[in-house]
Amino acid sequence: MKKYIVYITVMVAVIAAFVVVLNFFPRSEYSELERRELTKRPEFSLEALKSGDYTKGISSWYSDTEPFRDEFMTLSMQVRAMRALQIGAEEEQVNYIAAEPDPELASSPSSVSPVGSNSEESVPPTLVGQGGEQSEAFEELVPEQDELTQDERAKITNNGIFIVGKAPNARAMMAYKGKAGGTSYARVVNTYQEKFTDVNIYCMVIPTAVEYYCPAKARSATLPESATIDTLYAHLLPSVRKVYLLPVMAAHKDEPIYLRTDHHWSPLGAFYAAQEFCRVARVHVPELSEFDEQVTHRFVGSMYGFSRDISIKQSPEDFIYYTPKDVTYTATYTVYDIDSAFQVIGEHRPRQGEFFHHFKDGSGLAYCTFMGGDTKIAKVETSTRNGRRVLILKDSFGNALPGYLFGSFEEVHVVDGRYFTKNMVDYVSQNGITDIVFANNVFKAYGGGRQYLRFLTQRGSGIYTPRPQPKDTTAQAEPDTTVAAPTDTLAVETKNGTVFAADSLNSETNHNEQTEKTE
């Protein structure tokens, strides 16, 4: 009898403590760990109550905004990390295989020739720079296949993220599940080329880390991004200028061109891409010596929240970025307000601001250094005079590019594919744009990028117009949500067919949202 009383007393006290903490302590509103605003308490309405959305909303709000959420989550990750067998892991060898276009794939006709397309004017993949600037043969650009061998281990989390190595040097990357594809993105770029006959149109599809750092034994669990990129480039009109990054990145893969703990590339990787772009655009090609190095130490990026793997948290890295030395420039922003569903709900007046926002050491938001995020139009006027004005149509990968172009263009405009309410034709003519570059990562390109087509026809006058109701938006505006949610930077179809979507970094007010979608 006494033993029951003791048990009951202790447990009731413990449970009561939990009840008090979880109900009466301040609720969490923002997760440092996952870098997102937490769920808001749902608004009450009879409709919502009837459909069950209200009660569902209360439940998910309650569990999402738990007090001490990040502490609990860290604990749960530590526990989950204990599941793995650690013995002998140290001796395991991992072979990195640099991604070059797979010889097998390159020769197999199905991966290069238009897949499922009835267009007869398909062009073979153009692997060289544009405009007669016949660069060396492709093979010479690519270094000999050399395998980096590291005394490190590799694993795959249950939601399909590869973790290579161990703390403090672990690297996380998302598996790529796109088949050849990419043709609808090519059509989007071609449409721009047809629309803007006197503007140079460039296509830069940005490969991600898994293309270069995929452990050899994990190769069966991911698909080569080169297949998508090559098919996509093969479908571009000949007049579209191709910024073909695969060999460029491969040449530098021994350098830290991708962030280890974030789904983005590093500013250094973007630098090499910017060089390649300038070469193709035949403007001044920047050198690293023209920039000052800045560092945010102890950066741990988005992959921690995605993988929920403790080894990523224990592997902070330096976020090194580069600011131009000898150019003067002013950045003007038109900032959008967005709601929790990433719909634009407001637009601010253009205002001047810093281009580079330095984040303090240890901040997980360092990738927002460039322009402070995505939900804005940026216009940078530089001291360069050459009559060239470039517009970058980008996802968050593209954010790292413009900083290198101030010495090469008079004006650099940056528009995010998700947040733009103006009419693109008007915007281009009003601003005297001479070059438009599509700079999106391969996940985004695989998703189709059809929202860029809407920019051509939407009636935005520069003044804020409310977006159509969400229902209409899903019907016409975001046809590629099956592959990439409208807000995604990386959307991965995992082995089980669920979409794992990583969002990019958002504005400073919203910080950056990340969504994990499981169906």
Binding site: M1, T55, L85, S220, N496
Partner: protein, 487 residues
């Protein structure tokens, strides 16, 4: 609402506890009255029962704000039929028939209409699909209603004259949406008079936390593995090792998920003074499928045994037919899909095989082989349980039995990166608690001071650990629904 939801654990349950204690005080000090001198003071349970009913309806409406009225209608019709049966004489049979038609009718319309229409359309007819979504837990509460009607018809239990008590029996939130299917006779007495001892309370809490741990710590993790290898299954990327990992992971997931739910239900019931029937008895240590079905979802199996198999003639007449019918229905009960019916018939075939062959030669088979045989049959059957279309089932079986590359990095990683999860999961299928109690009893002697303090200390530490871990693992959990709530 589900049990493994933070809102349920830390808002709903505490609210129930506080209101229930207030109601108990109200019952004892205000509502109780001496009925007759010899029986003494009769304690009222009206306030307590009302509190439970109100919270149960909130609990149900939380997930099904509209269908809660369907459940109320079902209970009302059952109550009405019960009263008709209670009128006795020539009304008994019509009352029962009326009640059964209502209940089975509701179940057919809301659970099987779509399946029927699709099947008809498959054979060339063009019937519009009514697109009725399945109300949560309908299979459970309809079966409880049927159990009530048949029991009072047979005279095993008295007719319930209080609507509130019948409503409480059917809608009681611990067992409302995923069982166990509580027989009316089991709790009839406790609806109007129950007592909670310190032992009930302590063991109820332990049982609840045990179930919570099974669900949150084990089932939710295994569901990741099951989804990884079975969700969106595609033969082109699958490997044999991966398929086995997936289906074994799913087998473990479904056991911990469902038995965890039953534990939580039984635990809450104990804390409220109800003694629900057990639903699981370590099914994965079975040595035959016949044995397995005496250990798995016991409340459902005994329902079919008592209300279908035996009335049909049991082992006295056309036993083979009876077995097939019972298993066909058991399969269909799990879901309105022909793969579930096939799953049921698969077990009918196995049970018949065991009856005529296996059980006769079983004594000559080496013990470990008996277990391996039984587990293989169960695991292979899970494939039918998981997929709802036959082509995928076929592809999955091909993959399981060698029609694919043997293994890859992903499969290897699923084993190595979850190694301790596999170990703990498999070990937890064994009756560990019973064994350790016996062992401790041998060392310290039963019910000695040492035994009691060691047990209590261990129980407290384990309970707190489960609680803390579950809260941590439930933050931001996405795959948290119970499998059996959709049946």
């Amino acid at each position: 609402m589900v049990f493994s939801d933070l809102f349920f654990l830390f808002v709903f349950l505490p609210a129930v506890a506080i209101c229930y204690l207030l109601a108990a005080w109200l019952d004892k000090s205000v509502l109780s009255k001496a009925t007759s001198p010899e029986s003494g003071l009769r304690t009222s349970f009206t306030a307590r029962n009302s509190v439970l009913v109100v919270f149960s309806l909130i609990f149900y409406a939380w997930g099904e704000p509209v269908y809660v009225f369907l459940m109320l209608a079902c209970v009302f019709l059952t109550y009405l039929s019960g009263r008709i049966i209670g009128a006795g004489g020539k009304y008994r049979k019509p009352g029962l028939v009326f009640g059964l038609i209502c209940n089975i009718g509701i179940l057919s319309i809301f659970k099987y209409a779509s399946m029927l229409v699709q099947t008809l359309n498959h054979f060339g007819l063009d019937v519009p699909d009514p697109k009725i979504s399945l109300p949560i837990g309908i299979s459970f509460y309809v079966f409880q209603s049927i159990s009530y009607l048949v029991d009072i018809y047979r005279g095993d239990s008295p007719v319930q004259k209080h609507f509130l008590r019948l409503l409480l029996y059917i809608s009681m939130f611990p067992q409302l949406i995923a069982g166990p299917i509580v027989r009316y006779g089991r709790v009839a007495e406790e609806l109007s008079n129950r007592h909670v001892s310190a032992q009930d309370m302590a063991e109820g809490m332990q049982r609840f936390l045990l179930g919570l741990g099974k669900k949150v710590i084990l089932a939710n993790q295994f569901s990741e593995l099951a989804t990884q290898f079975m969700g969106g299954f595609s033969e082109s990327t699958a490997t044999t090792a991966g398929a086995w990992i997936g289906v074994i992971g799913f087998s473990l997931q479904i056991y911990f998920d469902f038995s965890g739910y039953s534990d939580m239900a039984i635990g809450i019931g104990r804390c409220l003074g109800f003694h629900f029937n057990e639903n699981f008895n370590h099914p994965y240590i079975c040595d035959s499928i016949t044995d397995f079905w005496r250990r798995w979802h016991i409340s459902l199996c005994s329902f079919f045994r008592d209300y279908v198999y035996i009335p049909m003639g049991g082992n006295r007449r056309h036993q083979v037919l009876n077995i097939c019918v019972v298993w066909f229905l058991t399969g269909l009960w799990h879901g309105a899909d022909w793969t579930f019916a096939m799953w049921g018939l698969y077990f009918a075939a196995v049970v018949l095989f065991e009856k005529y062959v296996y059980l006769k030669i079983k004594p000559h088979i080496w013990k470990p082989f008996q277990h391996i045989y039984a587990l293989m049959i169960i695991i292979i059957g899970r494939v039918l349980f998981y997929f709802d279309d036959l082509p995928t089932v076929g592809q999955f079986y091909r993959t399981l039995f060698g029609g694919a590359p043997s293994s890859d990095f992903v499969a290897e990683a699923a084993v190595l990166n979850n190694f301790w999860l596999w170990v703990v999961g498999i070990v937890c299928c064994l009756p560990l608690i019973d064994w350790s109690k016996q062992l401790l009893g041998k060392i310290t002697g039963v019910d000695t001071a040492a035994n009691n303090s060691i047990t209590t200390a261990f129980q407290i530490v384990a309970s707190i650990a489960v609680l803390v871990l579950s809260v941590a693992l439930l933050v931001g959990a996405t795959n948290n629904a119970f499998i059996y709530t959709r049946f």
